[in-house]
Symmetry: C2
Subunit: 455 residues, 2 copies
């Protein structure tokens, strides 16, 4: 998959070297010769990944990385730091600044391209969920970078490897309320991972009881574990294993001997991506729910029930089952609000909705049209059972007062109900609804607290 | 990226051969020995891709493919047909049955793996957008397979290649209201593609004026063209070019000499994925919008304004700009409904909302809290300009009647307005809102059609 890569280095020959390599693989390359220039470019044009030199005058790579990751708009842009040094302390500084990985010059092509592909895969998925800027703003999705450390609390971690002391080392990364399960058999580990919902999985690639890459692949292929971050533990002498693991969809790797700070920084980065992904999806799911439900009562809203009726009408051709519409209005609801205040009024609406849902069958649908007006859609209905449901709703509310913060501790309300069966097979939902409305009006005129069947 | 692959073939040795190949590349393989068994497995367990033999007793591969693609739940599951024959007519039958590609036995490993990766990439993105089953149902996203052919109408197509007659051939695939732009220079083509919104792009890999793979890569790296389906035209003698193109994110390829039926089937498949992707994203965007806006008036709803006030309160620490709350209620709105009916009432709400939006500045926010009650949030406000905005809202509605289906052709309404400035820097939005509500009540008690500033 092609992508736009920004190469940042103050030494022209380094820039040209990386540019040539990437360009030969058909990446679209842009370049910057200083941290300030890089930050400017990142702000003005969309990029997919940054290759960042560490040693630069004025602003070094660590600082550039920190700034990229501190800005909500660019925090998810993957950053790979490239350095001539291979000091572990540098690597940790970079990773703690939020870098996704660290490559040492001279850069091995295989390692570079495997890493690029692996990071781009994650970015493309996140981009897909991000929708419009405005939409994200509306959803109020926060990325509170400052609170990154909290991501290490309460984690369920799986460690699969032969050396329990490595498992203990990994376990020590995670803070309060975390639990690390240490296992040695990949088959057992897979079975366990499919049941437990782990937040992170660590797999040792020197596992003797089976093929650890197979385990990684199975975790990735299975729907349940597809998105769990996987980090592998590898020997420095086996770079090809890293490449292979990244190709299979492993998220990151930790070299032996394990440095706890490095393992911690890498775990944190993966948890961070994962949480952002979960939050985005959760926010989308929730927005969709909100679009179709009433905030106060949790019933479906008018928008949803309108669509529902339209789709029922469309499928009418195929089966001739009757759909009854039951329209319900709480009697004298305005006085409840006027006498006891809106809070009590809201309580009444909520309690009534709760009771409504108990009366309605699973395949039927209870909705709040607005104010104190409700609509129940009963599918496969006969006149008799539509009337029975309507009568049950009326009786249910009339026979037991609703607890509320009033002087007596409760409110007694009644409801008027209008029921309409379909007039003919060609009647539109709109016309049937109008007839239910007229029946409801008759019920009101007739003295309320009653059910009227439409003609 | 690993994935779960179903291999379907009635000859055990063929199954074992493909299984071994795929398993060595760490794919998770499941197998079936007949069409019926395959359809059963597809129904019961989530899969990522199907490799399907054509010649099988009872139900052949074409029929299995047709059934997979006709079922909404599995229509997006990629299918590669594998056959010993290399008859073009078979290939077209398969592609028209909805197959994503056709591989000839003996299968070249490179071609197989490049194809798998390319199809899986698209599937993963779509999966990401699909959210919960229930959510999709609520959004009412339909996949009307029967109407596939309509996807060839009204298409904007770009053809980049040296042979204009090939361009004409491609153009002939598309139906009414379509337009195919034929270009020879990849640089010009890229520039054009960034401006025009093409539905499909065809690139000849034997282009002489520049590197056609580079053009594909640039189309993929650019945010504007990232999701446009790209099909490349290749010589049969250059299989490595196909592999490379697929790795770069090209969606499909057409072999020379071009067979129009095959080109048409392949274009249709890509248009189909594309449209589904667009619909999913569109539906998500729309749901999010709906969750935060009022269906009748298009103003922000109570849910949104509540969040907005909370986030304003949070940022208060940093800047001490005052936020004024203006609460507006239409006077005697109930009588409008009672006298003229709900339709006229709705007209009044809509027209009032329209006028409200004209009065409010860009950075301010107009919302409908419910019923006939509205809230305007004015940021960076002084007492004077808050009062001025409130007075303008009141005057605007009092000075010009609203056109509506009444005997006189219009309705004259007035509004009462309560305004609250923040009491202190520590006052909660809730308390400030309560004070605006009290001021509104004062306005009502004082005779309506007036503005009252909270104490």
């Amino acid at each position: 998959m092609s992508a736009r890569v920004l190469v940042v280095d103050d030494i022209p020959v380094n820039v040209r070297l990386l540019e040539a390599k990437l360009s030969a693989e058909y990446y679209d390359v842009v370049t910057a010769s200083s941290g300030a220039e890089a930050l400017e470019m990142i702000k003005s044009a969309p990029l997919d990944i940054v290759l960042l030199d560490v040693m630069m005058p004025e602003m070094d790579g660590f600082e550039v990385c920190r700034r990229i990751k501190a800005e909500p708009a660019t925090a998810l842009l993957p950053v790979i730091m490239v350095t001539a040094l291979n000091e572990q302390s540098d690597r940790i500084t970079g990773l703690e600044a939020g870098a996704d990985d660290f490559l040492t010059k001279p850069v091995r092509d295989m390692a570079l391209f495997a890493r690029l592909r692996s990071l781009l895969r994650v970015k493309m998925l996140l981009d897909e969920l991000r929708l419009r800027e405005e939409t994200s703003r509306q959803m109020n999705i926060l990325r509170d970078i400052e609170k990154r450390d909290e991501l290490l609390h309460g984690q369920k971690v799986l460690f699969v490897g032969d050396q329990p002391e490595e498992g203990e080392l990994i376990a020590s990364i995670f803070k309060e309320n975390s639990h690390t399960e240490i296992m040695t058999d990949p088959g057992d580990a897979l079975a366990k991972a499919l049941v437990e919902k782990y937040d992170l999985v660590f797999v040792s690639l020197s596992l003797s009881a089976g093929d650890p890459l197979r385990l990684c692949s199975q975790l990735r292929s299975n729907l349940v574990t597809r998105h769990v971050p996987i980090l592998v533990l590898v020997e420095e002498s086996e770079p090809d294993q890293i490449t292979k693991a990244l190709e299979l969809g492993v998220n990151d790797y930790i070299m032996r001997p394990i440095n706890v700070s490095e393992a911690r920084a890498r775990s944190l980065t993966q948890s961070c991506y994962r949480r952002y992904h979960d939050e985005l999806r959760g926010a989308l799911e929730k927005s969709v729910d909100m679009a179709f439900t009433d905030g106060l009562t949790g019933l479906y809203n008018r928008r949803y029930v309108t669509r529902h009726l339209a789709s029922l009408a469309q499928s009418k051709g195929t089966d001739d089952n009757d759909t009854a519409l039951i329209m319900v209005d709480i009697d004298h609801f305005k006085s409840v609000n006027d006498i006891y205040g809106h809070d009590v009024g809201d309580e009444v609406l909520k309690e009534f909705s709760k009771r409504l849902q108990l009366v309605v069958r699973g395949q039927d649908l209870a909705s709040r049209l607005g104010g104190e007006e409700f609509l129940i859609v009963v599918t496969n209905a006969t006149v008799e059972n539509a009337e029975r449901v309507a009568e049950r709703i009326r009786n249910d509310i009339a026979s037991e007062p609703i607890s509320a913060a009033t002087p007596s501790g409760h409110v007694q309300v009644t409801v008027s109900v209008g029921v309409a069966m379909p007039h003919s097979t060609t009647e539109t939902p709109d016309r049937q609804l109008k007839r239910a409305d007229v029946a409801l009006y008759e019920a009101k005129r007739g003295g309320r607290d009653r059910v009227v069947m439409a003609a």
